[in-house]
Symmetry: C2
Subunit: 310 residues, 2 copies
């Protein structure tokens, strides 16, 4: 870090890097006030729900110093966008809090924002504000607000017994890319996952899903949460749609995939591809102890990533 | 930390600690969905603006391990509430991302939430969600959403030349309390500052302020930002309303006071007390190089807290 840069200069620098749509200050609606004031203002339309999510990442825990810094920015936003996708919402804007450690150089921060803003531009999510500082360890927290028609959010607690379970894409690539850096496809999945925004919107608009969430901590852990929220148990069936090279255990328990998990009533025809995403059946929800899992009929312990474990 | 606690158990523990109004799940409006899903949902009323702010704190930089943990939780929320107050908005809900270091014990987290939720209850701000994890360093990020009538926010960029400048309360107590832990009043100001929510609402509702912001980084640094945003220079006058025991330099440059700074046209009569807060004139906005300051006629360099300095 060059010492000539202070906080305000950095904010100017970030504003200068924003695409035009994110800098627009419209009073007709949408984002009214962005970076540079105490808070960002979003003017909602009547009958609209706004959804909010926030996700932190920390050096050594969620990424390493040697990672391409653009991938860190991309992934920081992806994690929150994935939550918005899981609600079936249209992402509207993001807030980013970033604290950088002494080892971080100007070029790292530039590349971090490049990655963040590349994903933001893809989904037209303005960066509306945030916080910037220094700390012993590099960390970031991303808040994304999304909107959808009032009452239409895809929740976790609304699945029913007998609903079939589906996941998008392939599972286990995130953990495989962490473990095997030379597997380029898996490495890319680990570094630059893709949030399933279009799929989430389609599941909501087409009335397919009875419940949904994103797979950030691994299928076993996340499905247990969805089942528990809905007061149900769940069965998982073989074969799981595994990422090429991933083991069945990777697909069952590996985190960091950012695919969507959803439930649909058995009466709903679920296509094998929705909004460009492959969709695979993986099980069903059943009456039973809330959150309990079975894999091919045998009890299964959730063994995904626990952010709060040592 | 006891190793038996995992993330989900912690979320349950937090939900159990929430006051009833924060757990209510109403479909009639307000907070529709809180902790426990991918995102929180807030249903706005037509004609309403929602404002969002986020502020991070880091161990060793914003607080020390030896600080009372309830004060850390209190202050983490105060910093964002103060931003909401500065916009003239009514706080509506908060999201909290918390990462704890290995030295943090269960009792510390409990006390942290006690402090956070005590301030949240005072202003009836539901904790609507967030993120929880572990990191090498304890850090937290608080997002608060506030609402106000469309277009009514108190901004930084709307002051005019000739507008008088005012601050609430007394300045320099935050830095005095950091430097002099045995000064109990200053220490309390440093550890448990009070966001000026009622004052911000009154300034907006009574049409007093032409611009406003909160004083988190010191009068000189923050006033320079307000003046720059409005394209003006600013004069500061003696005497400044100093916190008992604080020097004039503390009042000019000390951060962490969370008082409000606002501008009002000379035609507006500004009472010496508004919504319970003492209000003092401290200067005026003048034509000149944007952001330049003068103290009793002499040029003054902003010398407050820069979060991005080494």
């Amino acid at each position: 870090m060059q010492t000539v840069m202070n906080e305000d200069a950095w904010i100017d620098r970030i504003v200068a890097r924003l695409p035009a749509y994110a800098r627009a200050r419209s009073h007709a609606g949408g984002l009214v006030l962005g970076i540079g004031d105490d808070a960002a203002i979003y003017r909602p339309a009547p009958g609209e729900d706004l959804v909010f999510t926030t996700d932190m990442m920390h050096e050594e825990r969620h990424f390493l110093r040697g990672y391409p810094p653009d991938s860190v920015g991309w992934k920081a936003l992806c994690r929150s966008l994935s939550d918005i996708a899981a609600m079936g919402a249209q992402p509207r804007f993001a807030l980013l809090s970033l604290a950088v450690a002494p080892w971080v150089k100007t070029a790292w921060i530039d590349a971090f924002y490049d990655g963040f803003l590349a994903l933001a531009a893809k989904y037209r999510v303005p960066l509306a504000g945030g916080d910037l500082g220094r700390a012993a360890q590099t960390s970031m927290d991303v808040m994304v607000c999304g909107s959808l028609p009032a009452g239409a959010a895809l929740r976790r607690d609304t699945a029913r017994a007998g609903d079939r379970l589906y996941v998008s894409g392939a599972l286990g690539g995130g953990i495989l890319g962490l473990r095997s850096p030379r597997n380029r496809a898996a490495r890319e999945r680990h570094l630059r996952p893709e949030p399933r925004v279009a799929l989430g919107l389609a599941l909501r608009r087409r009335g397919i899903a009875s419940a949904a969430m994103d797979l950030s901590d691994g299928l076993s852990t996340d499905l247990s949460r969805l089942a528990r929220a809905s007061g149900l148990a769940a069965q998982i069936w073989r074969p799981l749609p595994g990422f090429p090279g991933a083991s069945e255990a990777d697909a069952l328990h590996g985190g960091d995939d950012y695919e969507l998990l959803f439930a649909a009533p058995p009466s709903v025809r679920v296509p094998s591809r929705i909004a460009g995403a492959p969709v695979h059946p993986v099980g069903e929800l059943v009456e039973g102890a809330p959150g309990h899992l079975f894999f091919e009929g045998e009890p299964l312990r959730p063994a995904g990533w626990d952010h709060f474990a040592k």
